[in-house]
Symmetry: C2
């Protein structure tokens, strides 16, 4: 090879190397999907071959948590890496942002999209936002180049008077829910055609992926379903033995298959971390229109395990070894520092970040592992897990007007031995209670008063 | 090749061909293992890599039932292919054969071992018998060439006065349970060393397999565990995050791994059907020493799903396609006709056989599929499933003195949509109730009065 070619190649190499090209990230989040709702988590009648394969090719978490028991705070936690109490994105009444709420994720919060955008990432939010529906809270103000989706939950129409109980209906009519579909700042459907949402989110994500295939990208894909009202496309409707709820989950499973296949087709699989999870547990009061927490106690809205322990699967061919099941404690706060580290970005130092880099779990790196997890219900700390021991300071039914029941001493469960939280072992584990008390005390010193955005 | 060698080979071939060599069968049955206790059925803290792999390489059933809600009748059902009501091997008080009981499986019953032995199979029962402990009920009278194991449950000592509650203890002492270990007709340990039972059963099975590698064989391997008292070997004790129950299940998982590896090593894998299942649901009243039914309702002793729907994995490299999950309705009665068909044997025609050949499910053959399943509690029919619909005519807590509650109309659940049996849909499904009533009526016409062997 002539010397000048060698020199040219070396120059090109150096220039390319100077532009850091981190891996791509795709975070797929289902809405109200329960711990027990996937084949690989043991559901008997919902078929999820694509997610099962994703788990076989990657890592399946058994002890992964959403950062809150309901939608809005869980999403705030995921995008900021901070317990939602820090951003004011949680509250006791209401517990999520309503359709007319003026509040939203404060501008001073730094989202994962914002931090990655600074590193040159192309960023998209495709799906349900639910972090503020007013213009000042638009995803574009939080680091997203592109947005396609609903501003909040699909059961939050602005104008329609819904017949009682209709949100949980297994035969919902689209026109009853005038939830707008937006593309960037435009409302492209005043009443979103919900039966094709999963399909359209998938197409949007695939398009964004293709358009940015030469470029690092971050796709945040928070699906609208299986939150009620349940809509599946014509192809999926009537397909699952589990009924409409199963149809909807099986369509999400198809969507995941499309995304992974798209990555393989574009040659991006080996350079993309994909995670799949849920924003909170199953909405049990929706009966057949809600999911299952499997062997876990209770569901969405509660700080029992069924409310916050959710499926999580991580996939990155060549980087995450296939076929792993991990019981490492982890939660959706951890995506923030994990992705920033992989992108070569600094984690913000001017604020408390509650997330932990998951590198040690995902790649077997050295590094810290998560020791504890805090279960907030709205703005109140209800329970804390340290190692496998979980203390409940308060418990309260997921929904309804019943007052919280305080526990002193706290209820204590060994979640590894007793995942269904049946046997209180507080009497024999004073040292665990003391350790949990220290974690709470330390956490409290880091809290600053914040106004709830949800009251607004 | 000289002509005489060709002739000799042809002769040997013809002779060999004249001796039908069916496939080998290994039926592994855990004791009191729940629907939710394996990794591939969704347990978060019990690790079962060998059973998970067996499922990946074979077929996992989501809707598989034991033929009874407790030990003795379930085993009678498995070995005879007949609901235990037909052989008198069920009863209401007691519900299983006690250690001192004189009764046992009647000689006129034809077991799978007996029928296979007639076809030239070598047969072994390695593990817990529990179909009669008196000499006249010995496995050798039911077609087993070889027997190694306990005559009944491991919590049924003959002489010791147990401290109250000790059966469920998580720290059982071996000497408290003077359950004999037998090899053929000899008692080789008057108080079985239970902590090495799983290991020794495994070794016995591997030895039998090796010794009969040139010969079709049937190994019935009904493990003693995870029935309480729980014992794991030194290698497994303290290994599972789930505690001793997890240690015991993980040792069973190891055992399955050894069996499959043994088959591969001996070159027998492609000629052996292996199934793994449980005799009934988890013994929930044993608390941490009992298992989990996952999302299913209730456990051992009840006719809710958790009492009788159990894990089942079928494996036969080259015959059963890998990675299949089936929701086909099946039960342990079905092994009898399935194995006989594969062995080229006739199913007895002089009696009712309730089992169905599973060939259509396992191999995708044409053939009948199971349409219904009857849930007996002792000698009484409590519930019936037809398709995905299950009617409860009576319900009763798994244990305790509470009377059965009769339901007229029956409670009705759609098990595919509602596997946890939460929502009675009887009001809207009179046709399903009528269909179920016809199945019951037809079943009743086939019943002949039989004396319970359990009262004796």
């Amino acid at each position: 090879m002539p010397l000048w070619i060698v020199c040219l190649l070396a120059f090109v190499w150096a220039v390319a190397g100077a532009t850091p090209k981190g891996p791509n990230f795709i975070i797929i989040m289902a809405d109200d999907l329960g711990y027990g709702d996937l084949g690989c988590y043991g559901h008997p009648s919902i078929r999820t071959p694509h997610l099962d394969r994703m788990a076989r090719e990657g890592m399946r978490f058994t002890d992964f948590y959403s950062s809150a028991e309901v939608c809005t705070p869980s999403r705030a936690g995921l995008l900021t890496g901070r317990y939602p109490i820090r951003s004011g994105m949680c509250g006791d009444q209401p517990r999520v942002l309503t359709a007319r709420a003026k509040g939203g994720l404060p501008r001073e919060e730094i989202t994962l999209a914002e931090a990655l955008k600074e590193r040159g990432y192309a960023t998209a939010c495709i799906g349900k936002w639910h972090l503020g529906s007013k213009p000042q809270h638009h995803p574009k103000h939080h680091g997203f180049d592109y947005y396609f989706g609903l501003p909040y939950s699909n059961d939050m129409p602005l104008h329609t008077n819904l017949p009682p109980g209709s949100t949980g209906s297994l035969n919902p009519r689209n026109e009853l829910f005038d939830v707008p579909l937006r593309r960037n700042e435009d409302v492209i459907e005043t009443t979103a055609r919900q039966d094709t949402l999963t399909k359209r989110y998938t197409e949007e994500a695939l398009r964004f992926m293709r358009e940015n295939r030469e470029h690092p990208f971050f796709i945040y894909l928070p699906h609208t379903f299986p939150h009620v009202p349940l809509f599946a496309s014509a192809e999926f409707r009537g397909r699952s033995a589990r009924g409409l709820y199963g149809d909807v989950v099986e369509e999400l499973d198809w969507s995941v298959g499309q995304i992974l296949e798209g990555l393989r087709r574009e040659g991006l699989a080996e350079n993309t971390l994909v995670v799949f999870t849920s924003d909170n547990g199953p909405w049990l009061t929706q009966k057949l229109a809600g999911g299952s927490a499997g062997l876990l106690r209770d569901g969405k809205g509660s700080t029992w395990e069924g409310g916050m322990r959710v499926p999580c699967i991580a996939w990155w061919p060549g980087r995450i070894n296939s076929g792993q099941i991990t019981s490492a404690l982890a939660c959706n706060l951890d995506f923030f520092p994990t992705c920033l580290k992989l992108a070569g970005a600094e984690t913000p130092r001017d604020r408390v970040i509650d997330g932990i880099d998951l590198g040690a779990v995902l790649f077997g790196n050295r590094g810290p592992q998560r020791d504890d997890f805090l279960y907030y219900r709205g703005a109140q700390l209800f329970a804390v897990r340290v190692g496998v021991m979980k203390a409940h300071f308060q418990t309260k039914p997921a929904y309804g007007k019943e007052e919280a029941k305080k526990h002193d001493p706290p209820l204590l469960f060994n979640l590894a031995e007793d995942p269904s939280e049946r046997f209180d072992v507080a009497a024999n584990h004073s040292e665990a209670l003391a350790q949990i008390a220290r974690v709470v005390e330390k956490h409290r010193t880091t809290l600053k008063p914040s106004r709830s955005q949800l009251d607004d």
